[in-house]
């Protein structure tokens, strides 16, 4: 018996894509395997680690906890969509570079998307708010200190560029 396939139109980083997938295709897998957008990483695949976090209509969500068929009609933003239009690093990416906010880099896409949305909601976080902003993302390398610094630095860069 062949599995029923669904035609899904996804809008990712402003571009529209048509894919034909089974209903069980996780959005994270659709992004990576069907669209080749491998910037979104998959760690635990059950919503705990945060590596697969993308922005859905601007709000961070776990792409491993959504089905691609459910994502039609939403504006999706992945880590590939965070660079400035001229291709230079966005504020959060630049801050990670300056603050050494990553080591192996596996968790980084989820942090970048989460912090991008977090700073949009709260452009001037306190130290405590910066920590809270990343509380739902796991990193096994850095010990988080430089990621918290990167949140604060990204807020500065955002203010400088505004």
């Amino acid at each position: 018996m062949s599995e029923e396939l669904h035609d899904v139109r996804l809008t990712v980083n402003g571009a529209t894509h048509e894919i034909r997938v089974p209903a069980r295709r996780l959005l994270s897998d659709a992004l990576r395997h069907d669209l080749g957008l491998t910037g979104t990483h998959v760690g635990c695949e059950h919503g705990v680690c945060g590596a697969c976090t993308i922005l859905v209509d601007g709000a961070p969500m776990r792409s491993c906890l959504m089905f691609a068929v459910s994502a039609a009609g939403h504006e999706l933003t992945t880590v590939e969509g965070l660079a400035d239009p001229d291709g230079s690093l966005g504020p959060v990416q630049q801050a990670f570079l300056e603050c050494h906010g990553l080591q192996c880099g596996f968790c980084t896409p989820g942090f970048l998307t989460t912090i991008t949305a977090g700073l949009r909601d709260n452009p001037t976080p306190t130290h405590e708010e910066a920590r809270d902003m990343i509380a739902g993302n796991l990193c096994r390398c850095t010990g988080y200190q430089n990621i918290v610094k990167a949140v604060e630095r990204a807020a500065e860069i955002g203010a400088e560029r505004a």
């Binding site: 089974p22 996780l26 945060g50 969500m61 906890l65 459910s70 739902g136």
Partner: protein, 282 residues
């Protein structure tokens, strides 16, 4: 792992959703999916069909009535639609004003990222005894409205939670909204929990409601269902022991029964004092 294959329906109306459920006994409702999708991915659940209700309009409504409106109850109340995300409920100043226990508990529900997608009604009917919102419903004496082939019915909180992850919502019914009464004038509420990390499931959590001499505390993660204990008339230094007389905290890999009992003592005292302070306007 990946979910097992399932048929997928995305109805545009509640009536179509109910009829899709009626046609497949092994169907599950997909709302936020923040609890359901992990169960599917780990293949702890493999329903034959998912009925995705995210395309049904108006299910995301959050309706707040003030005391005296007399629409729902004398003290007003909060009705949350099946597609209202935790984040939207948490951000609502009207909800906070009429029933502050709701945001107090919601800020402990997972992380902001999960709250952006997960729904409050979904969390309630998922009936996880380690979750915050079932306890809020049970403590406040709320209810869930469901729609099935026979029409709508209201399930009071005390008849909703049957066992671990088991609610009395029938397989062919959809939870349409959840309702909690507002906080009466002069009453107080409080919520606290102890978790290994912020956002993790609580080892123990407690919510208190103090109305005059009436003191009630609801607990999560101490049994198979959310448990509410009446502690009216109990002296402050005996609250914990009085609560434990009604509870049987379990032993598991996260905490021993003895440690959970200690958390019950600490949290009971803490939330009752805090709710009383609020009631007294402190």
């Amino acid at each position: 792992m990946k979910p097992a294959p399932f048929a997928y329906r995305r109805p545009g109306t509640l009536a179509e959703a109910v009829s899709a459920l009626a046609g497949e006994p092994d169907a599950k409702v997909l709302a936020g999916g923040q609890s359901l999708v992990p169960l599917l991915s780990m293949r702890l659940a493999s329903p034959a069909m998912l009925v995705d209700i995210n395309g049904i309009p108006d299910l995301d409504a959050i309706v707040v009535n003030d005391a005296g409106d007399a629409v729902e109850g004398d003290d007003g109340g909060v009705r949350v639609g099946a597609l209202a995300r935790h984040a939207a409920v948490l951000a609502s100043p009207e909800v906070r004003r009429v029933q502050p226990l709701v945001p107090m508990a919601l800020q402990h529900v997972a992380h902001a990222t999960i709250r952006n997608r997960g729904t409050t009604v979904g969390s309630i009917v998922h009936a996880d005894a380690a979750a915050e919102m079932p306890v809020v419903l049970a403590l406040l004496g709320g209810s869930v409205e469901v729609e099935g082939p026979g029409g709508r019915r209201t399930i009071p909180a005390e008849e909703l939670f049957l066992g671990p992850l088991q609610s009395s919502v029938a397989h062919d019914e959809i939870a349409v909204s959840a309702y909690v009464p507002g906080l009466a004038a002069g009453a107080g509420v409080a919520f606290d929990e102890i978790a290994r990390r912020h956002g993790d499931y609580a080892l123990v959590g407690a919510a208190a409601l103090v109305e005059g001499d009436r003191v009630r505390v609801g607990y999560l993660s101490v049994g198979d269902v959310p448990t509410v204990v009446d502690l009216s008339g109990v002296a402050d230094d005996e609250l914990g022991e009085a609560a434990l007389a009604h509870l049987d905290p379990p032993d598991d890999i996260h905490a021993t029964a003895a440690y959970r009992a200690q958390l019950v003592r600490v949290l009971t005292t803490r939330v009752v004092r805090s709710a009383r302070d609020m009631a007294e306007g402190l």
